[in-house]
Subunit: 452 residues, 2 copies
Amino acid sequence: MSAGVKKDFPATKVMSGFMELLPEEQIEFDLMKDKILETFHSFGYTALDTPVMERLEILRAKDVGETATQIYEIEPRGEQTESKSGLRFDLTVPLARYVAEHFADLSFPFRRCHIAKVYRGERAQKGRFREFYQCDVDVIGHGSLSIRYDAEIPSIIYQLFKKLDFGKFTIRVNNRKLLQGLVDSLGCEASTESILGVIDRIEKISSEQFGEQLKELGLTGEMTDKLIKFFEIKGTNAEVLDGLKSFNVDNQDYIDGLSELVTAAEFMKALGVEEDYYKIDPVIVRGLSYYTGTVYETVLDDYPKLGSVCSGGRYDNLAEHYTKEKLPGVGISIGLTRLFHQIREIGLVECSKKTAADVIIVPKEDANIPCALSVSQLLRAGGFKVDVLLEDMNIKKKFKYVDRKDSRFTIVIGREEEDSSSVTLSYKGEGGKFEKLQVAQSELADKMKGLC
Amino acid sequence: MSAGVKKDFPATKVMSGFMELLPEEQIEFDLMKDKILETFHSFGYTALDTPVMERLEILRAKDVGETATQIYEIEPRGEQTESKSGLRFDLTVPLARYVAEHFADLSFPFRRCHIAKVYRGERAQKGRFREFYQCDVDVIGHGSLSIRYDAEIPSIIYQLFKKLDFGKFTIRVNNRKLLQGLVDSLGCEASTESILGVIDRIEKISSEQFGEQLKELGLTGEMTDKLIKFFEIKGTNAEVLDGLKSFNVDNQDYIDGLSELVTAAEFMKALGVEEDYYKIDPVIVRGLSYYTGTVYETVLDDYPKLGSVCSGGRYDNLAEHYTKEKLPGVGISIGLTRLFHQIREIGLVECSKKTAADVIIVPKEDANIPCALSVSQLLRAGGFKVDVLLEDMNIKKKFKYVDRKDSRFTIVIGREEEDSSSVTLSYKGEGGKFEKLQVAQSELADKMKGLC
């Protein structure tokens, strides 16, 4: 740009509500994402990918309350004569549309996972995102789906959070039929939904407020006492199941819900979920969502303020707005963007790795570059990720590059090394201390593998 | 739905111009995507992720011709008072914006890759997509960037297409400075761009048309003859370089371009690119795009009709519309969605794997499920992806499920197996023949590893 000419650049800051990461943060984010996908895969769930855009009538087929006002709408382009579309606000609507469309080509029970971005034009708030990753895992049956899958879903979550290593966590499990049956058995005139709405808030309000809100709905003191007594059922999982049994509600939903909970708990055990990591918890409702049976929440025990980091449940009919086929399912979802934001804020993740490379090769002089390149090929063949510094720089600048990248290994190649068919390998040894040694080129890959 | 009630469902077919894959196709697509990312990583390129939406003034800062009319625009939502945004149409604009924004936090040369979807509201045509994956790999310098990186980029492509295994391929390499210098040296009044435009079409038009179009631009017969003679330079890479040298154009751009080509070829060799897999080809222009030096195209030798499956080049200044910093770079891009569509059409990829699972475990009776689950945990710990069939089905239906999924291994567990602490393992042996054997549970994972 010539001097004196003013050039205005457009704003390059990422728009508010969108997460954009530096390379070192992206590396940690991707590590988490990879662990999630790997765990979903290990249970035989196949990854799907659907368009980010869906027809507006697909997105709006179901009443989704406030979310409907948050859909980003898109004008058709080209000769597209189709109806208007919008950006998906979750991965469940696309799954329902997909299963309805490809029904004949799928085999059921259909296990699928989907890790992708969704969009909600929400009011800008700290920790709220307009573009965020959801990591969904669902299994869909045709006509029916065994309750045993309700045990598989939390056992996936158990394996995953063990791997993520954020400390002790608890998967809270309940069954909405239990609550449904209990509330119905009260014989109150208020709608079950309105009463469940109050129960859903039970952990956020005082017991006085709880009583008052139920009174407003027309519950008698006796009814409210019964509910309060019910929510006093606590203890080990076995004790809670016993308590629920002996609470003796004469209602088929209640009986079914209890039997489902017993089965789910039994199979979670068979799937190796440690007793201490899940809690049968009669208080979980999961909002006024479309769950009809088992419901899940997951909390990190040391960080209760984060709330549930992973929630889901069983639904009777996935795609009722798109097909006549009855498709019951059970699944769970992780809001990865939000979770990553939170664990970074509390310092649970360190973003120290500034490059994808395991090793940086530094040729001292231009003359050493061909040798550096041939060593790089050897190491790549050995499975290493290798960055060769090819820029013309003085050696000081070269080491500054190495310092900033902070890769596990650094290899320097100069004339001395070339003459002796060796390289100088630096790496962080025990206690983070820097170690240096001379290694023959032919033994380099093996030596480095031994140090990993 | 009760009989007699008509319910109209919205269209569930994917919108035209959008690719949506069945699980077995998605598995193959993801395998390709993984190989691409793995190869980019092996050269130390760090993956980035940027929002799908960008401000319209960012997307429109540069004149991108017809593409500008294809941008999907998005209405702001919530209390968003920001300017209108649109869906990105490539990954280069987001990279430029990213580097301009995070300049101070990056170290240069900055190697980044990005595999993600982009959007163009194009006219619907077979093989053209409105949503498609691009796989970009670029290295950006600050102020300057060594020509050696122009050799690294095609060597990444070489490693990648070897791995993808679509048969013999050729990376065609040229340098636009060479053409620029040649055309300038003609001393013709027509703009260099208009002449390069004709050269860009040389492989699509006859030599008569070539002559006529140049004549229309005001080139004399002598000038045209010189160009024709230039494009007759053919042979091995060494012969072409010799031919270009002895063509003797007295122009600095030509001399620089030639010297860059020589260096790039030299370092590609040092990076192990086989002589037979790249071709210095003076005819490559890469449209009227913003490339200023080295340019690349890649063709699959057995499928020339596919055109270039991977193109790119060197550019002088990545982010001139967003920052004052000078950021030269070199990179290449694969249009993955289109490539996958093409190789599937010509049968280069078989989509036979219908599940992410390596093994399906079939409990004969409900009583065998706990044992099936404990075996599944053993195998997962051994690195296998395991699907346990948990649905209540008769054995015939269970085997239909297994048949449709077509996983590598099937394990059946019944009373006999439980009694002998073993399982019945079926797998496809040599020649695709089905083999069956009885294996002790404790030896199962090792046995299966041996068969992989």
